[in-house]
Structure formats: structure tokens, C-alpha cells
């Protein structure tokens, strides 16, 4: 399994070409080949959602996608959210509302929430609960995550 091949994609606005084995997951490619360790691996079988990144604006489990499948795509990760020192409204809201404890699931929730709010800025609470149920958090009991995303949605609508 050493037949490596080149993959070219855009990560957080920057064009990258990396050379990987075909079996390499996108998550490992981001973490190990691009040095973006903010994307976390919680299960590597597509349940927990900690590794959620946006590929062409769609939330994906980067543990279930091969890096070679990302050829030509536009990938966004948690590292691309803040604008310099200025946090993204979702990051700010998670901070204000104690939407994280250990912080391991946080990048996945943030990226999921970015995709949700980009698609549906006026999402209702029941719809948001449904959408957020795709990711796992083991610390917060979720209610501050919900509160954070609702607060960010309100802020982003301003």
C-alpha cells in the first residue's frame, strides 16, 4: 500500500498539493499532511462527528472520506473560522455560553453549525436539535451547544 498519489485541493482558501496513499483518510491528510490538527478523530467510523469539516460547503465526516476523493474540492476546517484574532460568531457564542468543556468535539460541532446556519439562517430550535443530533458530545449535555448556536444564529442575522 505505498502507491502514493498527488491530491490537490483548497484548504481554508489555500491551495495544497499533498502526496498520499489512496487509503489515507481525509482526516489524516488534514491532520498529518496539512498540519491542521484542529480536526479531531473520535471514532473513525462516522458516528461521532468530531472530524466534521466542510467539503464544498457540505458537512462531511472526514474520517469516512479518502483524501483522494477531495481532489479539486474546497475544504474548510476549524482553523479557517476566525478572522485573525476575531472569532467567528459561532466561536464567540460557544465561549459566551459555555458550549464546550473538554473541547474535543467542539471543532466538529462548530463546522456542523457553520454548515447548518449557512444553509438555514432562520432555523428553528426543533430543526436545529434535529440537525445537531448528528454529532456527539460527552461533556456538555448539549444544552449550551444549542444555546450557543441559537445565539450565533441571531448574531449572524443582524
Amino acid at each position: 500500500m505505498s502507491d502514493r498519489q498527488d491530491v490537490t485541493f483548497t484548504v481554508n482558501g489555500e491551495k495544497r498539493t499533498i502526496r498520499v496513499e489512496p487509503r489515507r483518510s481525509l482526516a489524516d491528510a488534514l491532520r498529518e499532511d496539512c498540519g491542521l490538527t484542529g480536526t479531531h478523530l473520535g471514532c473513525e467510523h462516522g458516528v461521532c462527528g468530531a472530524c466534521t469539516v466542510l467539503v464544498d460547503d457540505q458537512p462531511v465526516r472526514s474520517c469516512l472520506m479518502f483524501a483522494v476523493q477531495a481532489e479539486g474540492t474546497r475544504v474548510r476546517t476549524v482553523e479557517g473560522l476566525a478572522d485573525g484574532d476575531k472569532l467567528h460568531p459561532l466561536q464567540q457564542a460557544f465561549w459566551e455560553h459555555h458550549g464546550l468543556q473538554c473541547g474535543f468535539c467542539t471543532p466538529g460541532f462548530l463546522m456542523l453549525a457553520v454548515a447548518i446556519l449557512e444553509r438555514e439562517p432562520n432555523i428553528t430550535e426543533p430543526e436545529l436539535r434535529e440537525a445537531l443530533s448528528s454529532n456527539l458530545c460527552r461533556c456538555t449535555g448539549y444544552q449550551n451547544i444549542l444555546k450557543s448556536v441559537l445565539a450565533a444564529a441571531a448574531e449572524m442575522r443582524k
Binding site: 491532520r31 490538527t37 479531531h40 476549524v78 465561549w95 473541547g103 436539535r129 456538555t140 449535555g141
Partner: protein, 758 residues
Amino acid sequence: MSLIGRSVKRLEDRPLLTGSGRFAADVTAPEMLYMRVVRSPVAFGRLIGVRIAEALAHPGTVAVWTAEDVADIPPIGFRMTSVPGLEPYRQPVLANRHVRYVGEPIATVFAADPYMAEDIADLVALEIEPLAPWLDPAAPPGEFAPGHDTEAAVITKAYGDLDAAFAGAQAVVALELIIGRHSGVPLETRGAIAVPEASSAILRLYGAAKVPHYNRQALAAMLGLPLERIHLHEGHVGGGFGIRGELYPEDVLTCAAALRLGRPVKWIEDRYEHLVAANQSRGSVHRVRAAIDEHGFILGLDDEFWFDQGGYLRTHGVVVTDLTCAILPGPYVIPAYRSVGHVRLTNKTPCGTYRAPGRFEANFVRERLVDVIADRLGLDPMVVRRRNLIAKTAMPFRREFSALGIDIVYDTGDYADLLDKFLTRVEWERLRADVARRRQAGEMVGLGLGFFVEKSGLGPFDDVRITLGGDGTIEVITGAASIGQGVETVMAQICADGLGTGLDRIRVVHGQTDRIARGMGAFASRVTVMTGAAVTIAAAKLRGELLTVAARLLQTAPERLAVTGDRVVVSGAPDGPSLDLAAIARGAGGELTAEATFATETMTYPYGVHLAQVRIQRDSCAIAVERFFVGYDIGRAVNPMLVEGQIVGGAAQGIGAALLEEFVYDASGQPQSVTLADYLMPTIAEIPNIEVILFEDAPTPLNPLGVKGVGEAGISGAGAVIAAAVDDALGRIGAVRQLPITPNRLHTLLTELSMAEG
């Protein structure tokens, strides 16, 4: 204004929000090797041979180890035990003669690439003669090893005249109850990165958590290293819950490999490994009976239980059983008591502690029993609880036994008052009326309530050193550990409160064995109590010292000075002379340091009430938790927002434990819960808005802040109250005898009930 009691935002959040955290998997070093563990595929068997020739022949192989290669490393010892004779049940770092659970480490391979290390591990061939596994903890014991049976220990705690209590009873109520195996399952799997530092000859282990200082000593002893040649470092930790940070075989193997191979060695657990190799917990079978009088007063309580320990005794020894025995009487007087806990080895993944060890179980058993007692006598269960609660006037209340070798003395509390206030706040009568009305309309809804006493602030000590640097920063060096609960913020609040400064100059250090000689870490809801007390004392000392220095520099008396923000000013003279903290440190020769130790031989006992409202969906046998309340007296809350966060998160785990989470094994001992699609943790869809009602009515005199712990308050009574609520919805008190209440189990209950009615 005091910083204690304020919901300030967490100091630790920014790196976690921006993806710049440093969790175990994020740690790398040059020339690093990856370790992959070959694990037992059978539950119990004789290990005949491990064939490694093919693995060794792989071009990427750096080393392959079996038990022979680590024969000089002793089995993993006990961090916590007061029970002698447990040594034969310790786990070797690699299996030698027997394998005792699916997932037990048998061999390790080392390669420069993690994918390749997995390829090589597949080439290791195992020859194992399967034996009939021991799976039922309550079955008669068999042989574990020559001269040692599968009953590792029997823990008994008793007081009073139990025979007389039962002889004089109006009635006896008995139950058999089962608590399923479940565990913390933090979202970050375990990891260890051992780096041999050539320049200093120091081995550094990254990925440490919970108890770095203890593990440093244990590793040094196991590896034959002088203590000064090994240090442990805690980075960001993706959830602890009791199971993470204990010393496991993989930690020892990673360190041994780094020493022997002379290169950094990294091991990151995958999720399958986690679900078969990391500590599980809880699984136990209780046979309990209570002797009661005609008013529902419990004259005597007699419990015998069997704890499903798994293949070995791990670092906790028999702590879970010890705590279960100790916590069972809970908030009630109970004049005569006996609890007998059997620690039984089985061929399943070994167990340790999980958040509220012994309490989740004991509260389930005791509160089930109280509801059944009330039902038997036709009394209101709240009336029965009130009749049995320990009175405020009886505080401090001593139980006639110890837990973890510490005498149990409930320090402060007014249990009946909390119950009354809680019922008022939740509008209990209205809740009951609503549920009754919905039941009349055909819905299966119910309410369940449980009372519990928690324990927190386990000693014996904590050290803290606070240094004011010449640049004006204040460093608080602790021996605590952070598993995501907000240690940095809370310690900074306590420090700032003691000094009179703001928060922004304070840096809190935890989990670094090269920064402070001793430390106890983070478990047993202890950090805010123990480390917080040490910070309080050290901050007061430092404040005294910096005022003395400032007084000298300002040519005045220390009593005339005050600290505000980052300056020392003359009280009542806002325009008078002042000094900033950095200048004072420089005036003191560069920096100012104060150290303190807080030591105690006691614990402090917070208490609370849980209340659940559930709805059963008859057709799907699903149970929806509609509302969940937690009332809790914490003594004093340093940061109410973080306190609530602890409670809410714990409650969610408790709901998972009550309804969803279970490590299932088949008849051959094969684990069935090996992915997160099998081991079901709650998502936001299963968790209602958790309603927390905090009380600060009973601060403790046992520490300078009056605080009690909160880490385990959310989960402690959850199993009890969800079971009670399901009973209520079913209209049959005591119907639920087993957790988790899965759809299958509920279906069985519904069938039994309809047959009984039909």
C-alpha cells in the same frame, strides 16, 4: 467585587475554539515510532504461542514484542486500595499464560507509520486454546489461577443489630436489581507519546491525565527508572470521567519502548480498542431487603451484591465495591445495616471507576427500595423519604464505617429542607396533576424522584505555588489535573479573589510533574475543594507578602494598602501613590512566591435531588425523557455557569446510562458493543433541557471556601429517577429491575404487565 460566585467565561476556551488545542494525537516528535497493539480475540484461553516471524519480516517493522520481551516489567499495581491479597489479580502489560478478555494486549509492533503498524500487527499469528469463559458475576466462583478463585475480595460494611431489625419488622421488602455495564467513553480515545530526551536523559510521557504524579511514580518503579528521570505532561484532555488517565498497559509499553528503542513512541487508541480495552464500570447484581415499620421507617437494610469486575483488577483495586457499600444508606438514618459486596472476576474488559462510582448504583438500589416501601404501605413516597432523612440536628452525622479508608461523617446539610424547597421550585403538585391528567387521556407518562448524598473533596493533600513574576504575570502552579472541567478558570477565580487582582494576569499550571513535586490530580470531585483550598491559602500569603513589599516601597504601612486590579494603592487615596504588580515583584528581587498545602483526612458531602418526567411510546417501546431536574446543595459555587455545566453534562450521561448505554457480551464472552453504533451514547435528540436548581445553604466548615464538589452531581441519581419515572408511567412501582431500560426490556415489562392485567 468578589470573583467567587461569578459566572466568568472560561480562560481555557480560546485554543479549543480555534483548533489550536494540543490533545494527545496532536503531539509529535522527530523520528517518532507508532505502536500498534495485538489484542486477544477470545474471552478466555490458554495462550499457546505468538508467532511473529512474518511480522518481523515486514520491511517496515522496527520491533515486535511479546510477553517475553517485557518479562522484567511487573504487572500494573493498585493506586487505591486498602485491601490486602489482591496482587494475584493484577494485569500484566502483555498477556503471558492466559488471555482473560477480548481486547487484552498480547503483542505490540512498532513502525514509523501508523497505517503500516496496523498492517504489521495483522501479521502476528496467535495460538490460543479457548476455555469456557466466566461471565456471570453472581454464579459460584471458579478458579482464576492456582490457589485463587474468581472472587477477588468480599467487602462488608455493617453496623447495628440487623437481626433484631428484621425480627421486629412490620414488613420486609426485597428486590433483585441489575445495573448494566457502562462507562465514561470520553470522546477523545486514550493516547500516550513517550519521548526520550537525549540531552537530559529524561523520559517524557505526553497524553497524561487525571493522576500524572501518581503515574510518574508507578512508571518509574515499573521501569526501574530513578524518579527524576521521568516526567509526565498533561495537554488538552478530551474528557475523563474517571476512566481516562489511570495507568494502563499501553502507557507502560509506550514508555518501555521509547527507552529501549531510543526513539519517541506514539500510541493512539482507536475506538474499537477503547470499547474493549479502557475501563468499564458499574455492572452489578444486587439482592437487597429492608425491614420497615408501619410508618415506612427503615429499621434495617441488608444488601448483597456481585460486582462484575472483568478479567483483572486494575488500578482502582476494589474501590467501586467499597464505595457502593459505603454510599448505599445515603441520606437516611437506617439504624441497622449490612452490605456485602463480592468482587468477581469475569472474562470481560476490566472495570474501574466511572463518574459517581458506587453512587449511581447505590442510589438506584436504595431509591428503588424506598419507592417500593411507600407503595407497599400505601404511603406517599415523599412522606417515607422525610421519615427516613437524617435530621439537620444530627449533623455532623457519622456512619459507623469508612470509605476509601476515611471515616464517613456527613459534614453539613438540611436534607428535608432541600427536599421541600426543591418540590416547591419544581411545582411538584402541578407536575403530578399534569401527569395524572395526561395519563387519564391515555398517555403513558410518569414522574420519578430520588434523593442522594454525594461525596467530594478526597484528600489527603494538595500543594500550590503562586509566583508573581517581574512582568506582572501570576502563575498558579498546581498538582491538579484538567480533564475539561474548567480547572484553570476556577483556580484563577479563587486566586484573583484572594489577591484582589483581576483574572487576566493569572496563568494556571496543572498536570506537569516537572513543575511541582507532588500532586493528587483530578478525581472524586476534588479539585475545587482541595486545590481550591490550597490556592486560597497561598493567595492570602502572597497578598500579605506583596503588601509588605509595597509598603516598604511606598514608605507606608501594609494595613493602609489595597490591591485593585493590577495595582497596589493606598486605601482611600485614589490619587495617591500606587505601584503596579510588576514593580512590586521587581522590588522584591525579581519575583514573589508563596506556597501552601491543604491537607485533610475528611471528605465533604454535598447532596441533592433528581427528578425525571418520562413518556413511554407504547408502539416503539421508546422512552422519552421530557423533563429532568437537579436540585443540589454545593455549599458554595465558585463559578455557577461551570457548576451547571458539570451537572447538565453528568445528567446527560446518566440518562444515557439509564436508557441506552450498555456493554453487551454474548455467551462466548465476545463484546457486542464495539462501535459507537452499538454502544449508544445520547445525542441532543435524547436529552431534554436539564433544569438545575443550585442551593448554597450548607457550606462546609472543612475548607476555607466552604465549597463542596459537583463533578458527579448530575449523574448520581439519574438511574434511580428514570427507573422510578418509568415505573410511574407503567403504573407499577418497582417494575423496573434492570438498567439500562432498553426497548427490549421495556417490551418485556409491558408484556408482563398486560398479561398480569389480562
